[in-house]
């Protein structure tokens, strides 16, 4: 077998739902990172609890890695079907490890491993996961003590017997893994390790959740829906510790109306949902617009229409997020591209929602939510909680006219005044009105806020710099994928423009686009929704579009190829 000379290595684990790939993934991430190797992990899985075929990619590297690659250096097939399932990601150089008991009929170049045998020796089938972890860590010759430490902390809540059996399983796997390398059956690149003790490994759901808590989120109401549920789970788990009200609502309509009610009473509330659930919240979004009550929505995208592919990824709800709600009112939409941005922009969402008294939507997707990698520890001192609540005077009027359209927001029970909010058109006191001149003033007041909002738009990020002839536009989760593709192409005439705020768009964007000789856009949808928004906002039409909507994220190679071809065109 041939060694790879790259400085990162892509391992893919594939098996049935319920086989515990999740455990292997988590353990491997912990172990690799502890041993000073950078890791990235992402998964694709079916909408079922058992069976089917799911896979997780773990990249291990000397350098930080953040993106999904098509290349599979090592496939650990925990199920026969894995090889067919991943056929597009298996190349000439892919080494496939498979249990000697489940080798498929037509398959070559397989390395048989005694997975079930070693598991049974340790105590039964369920120890196969630890054997697998052992084999992989054995391949990499990771320090055994380090592994044991991670293992025992991972199983810390289980009883001793479980820990022991897993340790045995892992060890036997480890020995086997080492022997594979020693017998030259597999060659593993020599990866440089570095001190990563200042790093943490989190995924998108955690980044969003931590950002929310850090910025004072103390109320979440949601209805479970993949891939958005992780945020509800995280906040629920930490509800007691941080004094957060976390309530599973009867439906998404209840969820958003609860969250709006909570803000009204002074909480910092959010909802987390996916396309279909957000669709149900549409009327609620409009309510927030009319009441001028803040609301933070985490919308984790998955392929639609309707139920679509519940556990897959897509970026096709941008337009829904933009236009959800009847009538006209301002909003802000973020689309973080990295875990750090997910943390920071979720935090920012709370401050901005509070400041402008509008809906702020954080658009993520299954790919971002389920992607893990190591980043420097997030520092909560980086987040400043900005509250905009006033103590009311006796003559308080909720919709007092102001220059910028923002009326001081009081909450009931804090101050001498009364706080009245109304979903009908209303006067400055919040009372229902049919005065049509006042109506016009109130529409103007609400829309006026957009002016101030536009003054603090997150600028698009140009990478590697602002000298370019060719510009690649992208938004949301594709950021690291595009970046790595560009690194690979290493052209000094080409840059990426990533938009982490997609509405309103930064006013410089038009200029940045016009500066380029050639522009393309990369989106995980079928109609180029951001391209449309850019055209609408700037008049600039991006004709070349690289679109994917299979439900699977772009890979670095796909983007590299697509960009390579595009760059070649008319050159």
């Amino acid at each position: 077998m041939n060694a790879t000379d790259q400085n990162d290595f892509s391992i893919v684990l594939c098996g049935q739902a319920g086989q515990g790939i999740q455990t292997v993934e988590t353990l491997l991430m912990k172990i690799f990172k502890a041993s000073g190797l950078n890791i990235f992990a992402t998964k694709e899985y079916m909408s079922r609890v058992r069976g089917g075929l799911n896979s997780t990619q773990i990249r291990v590297s000397s350098e930080p890695v953040r993106a999904f690659v098509n290349r599979t250096d090592l496939l650990v097939a925990l199920d026969k079907g894995a090889i067919e399932h991943l056929s597009k990601r298996i190349g000439d150089k892919t080494v496939i490890l498979i249990d000697e008991k489940s080798v498929p009929d037509k398959a070559d170049k397989l390395v048989k491993i005694p997975l079930s045998e070693l598991a049974n020796q340790a105590g039964g089938k369920i120890y196969a996961n630890s054997v697998a972890v052992g084999i992989i860590t054995g391949l990499f010759d990771i320090d055994q003590q380090l592994i044991e430490k991670q293992l025992s902390s991972f199983f810390s809540k289980k009883d001793e017997d479980v820990v022991n059996k897993n340790t045995i399983a892992l060890k036997s796997g480890y020995e086997f893994g080492k022997s594979l390398v020693e017998s030259n059956k597999i060659e593993i690149p020599a990866l440089k390790s570095s001190d990563l003790s200042g790093d943490i490994v989190i995924n998108g759901a955690q980044a969003v959740s931590i950002g929310a808590i850090a910025c004072g989120c103390n109320f979440i109401s949601a209805y479970p829906m993949s891939p958005s549920t992780g945020v509800l789970v995280f906040l629920s788990k930490n509800s007691k510790e941080f004094g957060i009200v976390a309530e599973q609502a009867e439906d998404e309509i209840a969820a958003i109306n609860m969250a709006i009610g909570a803000w009204y009473a002074g909480a910092r509330a959010m909802v987390t949902t996916s396309g279909g659930g957000f669709a149900l919240m549409t009327e609620g979004v409009s309510l927030a617009g009319m009441l001028e009550t803040p609301i933070v929505v985490h919308l984790a995208q998955r392929p639609g229409p309707a139920t679509g592919l519940p556990t897959r990824t897509e970026q096709a709800d941008l337009e829904l997020a933009l236009y959800a709600g009847h009538g006209e009112f301002p909003r802000i939409i973020f689309a973080p591209g990295t875990l750090r941005q997910a943390f920071e922009l979720t935090a920012a969402a709370f401050n901005l929602a509070d400041k402008y008294q509008i809906p702020v939507i954080i658009l993520t997707d299954q790919y971002l939510i389920d992607s893990n990698y190591n980043i420097p520890r997030l520092n909560i001192e980086d987040i400043k909680i900005e509250r905009f609540i006033t103590e009311s005077k006796a003559d308080y009027e909720r919709y007092e006219p102001t220059k910028d359209g923002i009326s001081p927001r009081a909450i009931p029970g804090f101050g001498k005044g009364l706080v009245a909010v109304d979903s009908d058109e209303h006067n400055t006191e919040g009372h229902i009105t049919e005065d049509l001149d006042l109506r016009v003033k109130m529409v103007d007041k609400r829309l006026a806020k957009l002016k101030a909002i536009k003054n603090e738009v997150v600028a698009g990020e140009l990478w590697p710099g602002d000298k370019y002839k060719n510009l690649v536009v992208c938004w949301g989760s594709t950021y690291p994928i595009v970046k790595e593709a560009l690194t690979f192409l290493s052209r000094d005439d080409t840059a990426m423009l990533h938009l982490a705020q997609v509405y309103p768009l930064h006013e410089d964007i038009k200029q940045l686009l016009q500066k380029a000789e050639k522009v393309t856009i990369i989106e995980s949808n079928a109609t180029g929704q951001l391209a449309k928004l850019i055209k609408l906002s700037t008049g600039f039409e991006i004709e070349n579009k690289i679109l994917k909507y299979s439900g699977l994220s772009f890979s670095v190679e796909e983007v590299t190829d697509a960009l390579g071809n595009w760059l070649k065109e008319k050159e």
Binding site: Q206, A254, M258, G261, P412, G413, D422, S423
Partner: protein, 286 residues
């Protein structure tokens, strides 16, 4: 006891029809609040959309006049965000039992300490006279041209089926009793349903003031509100409709007292700041 005058809005234009039962409910509500010494500043009325739902515009209070059918989730959240507030969710029968039906059943399960007043005129008033969930069979409207064919929604029986903590019915034709029931519902700890029969003089020519008078009676004092089966039986009566307290389940703790968010912290949410040290620790643990 406060003066119920303090809830008065002065000379305002009330959008209800002359003779509407809603006026009585407004009056009685002010009195009940005054007798309970609830300051307007500590009160939040949460309503939906409909004629009944306009009520918070007509008395001095904090209010959240939200979407049609969605008063209960907002009310639950307001109470949970700041348990010191007295929260009343008040709307019409269409709003609470029709559009809002799912929140009705699940709010009962959740049991926040709020009072839920439903102006039950057995019709959609604001949208001009279509059947509501409580419209009686045969009731003819511009949409139900051949008369209502659906079984009327029985809010009391459903609430009892869900083991609601307080279930009562009033008829605004009797202001004194309605006031007493309102007071009981407000002071009750937990979710309290008060369905209030309210004649709609414009669109319900069947279930008039007179009709309600003739077709209701007060539950016998001997009825034990702790008896769920007896309460259910009363709720199913349809020849004459009982008024009063049907059911009380005293063993229930309100939602706000059960959730973990108030276990280690007791300030209302607006006063909270995240514990930065713990949060940094949590982050570092990943």
């Amino acid at each position: 006891m406060m003066d119920s005058e303090q809830y008065n809005m002065g000379d305002i234009d009330i959008a209800w029809c002359p003779g509407c039962g809603d006026f009585g409910i407004l009056k009685v509500l002010k009195e009940a609040l005054a007798e309970l010494d609830i300051a307007p500043q500590n009160l939040v009325i949460v309503s939906g959309i409909g004629q009944a739902a306009k009520i918070p515009h007509y008395l001095k209070c904090n209010f959240f006049n939200g979407l049609h059918g969605r008063a209960l989730p907002a009310a639950t959240a307001i109470k949970t965000a700041n348990p010191a507030l007295t929260v009343i969710a008040e709307s019409g029968d269409g709003d609470m039992y029709g559009e809002g039906g799912n929140h009705f059943i699940h709010t009962i399960r959740r049991n926040p300490n709020i009072a839920n007043f439903v102006h039950n005129n057995m019709v959609y008033g604001l949208t001009k006279g279509q059947a509501s969930p409580t419209s009686q069979k045969g009731f003819v409207t511009p949409v139900q041209v051949a008369g209502v064919i659906l079984e009327p929604f029985n809010p009391l029986a459903v609430a009892i089926a869900l083991d609601a903590s307080f279930v009562a019915r009033a008829f605004i034709g009797d202001k004194e009793q309605t006031k007493e029931l309102m007071k009981k519902a407000i002071v009750h700890k937990g979710y309290a349903l008060l369905d209030i029969f309210q004649p709609c003089v414009s669109f319900n020519k069947i279930n008039t003031n007179k009709w309600f008078k003739e077709n209701t009676y007060y539950i016998d004092e001997k009825h034990d509100p702790a008896n769920r089966n007896a309460a259910f039986k009363l709720a199913c009566e349809s020849v004459k409709l009982p008024l009063g307290v049907f059911y009380i389940n005293k063993s229930k703790k309100p939602f706000e007292e059960c959730i973990t968010a108030y276990e280690s912290y007791d300030q209302p949410l607006y006063k909270r700041q995240p514990d930065k040290i713990k949060l940094q620790e949590l982050i570092n643990s990943f």
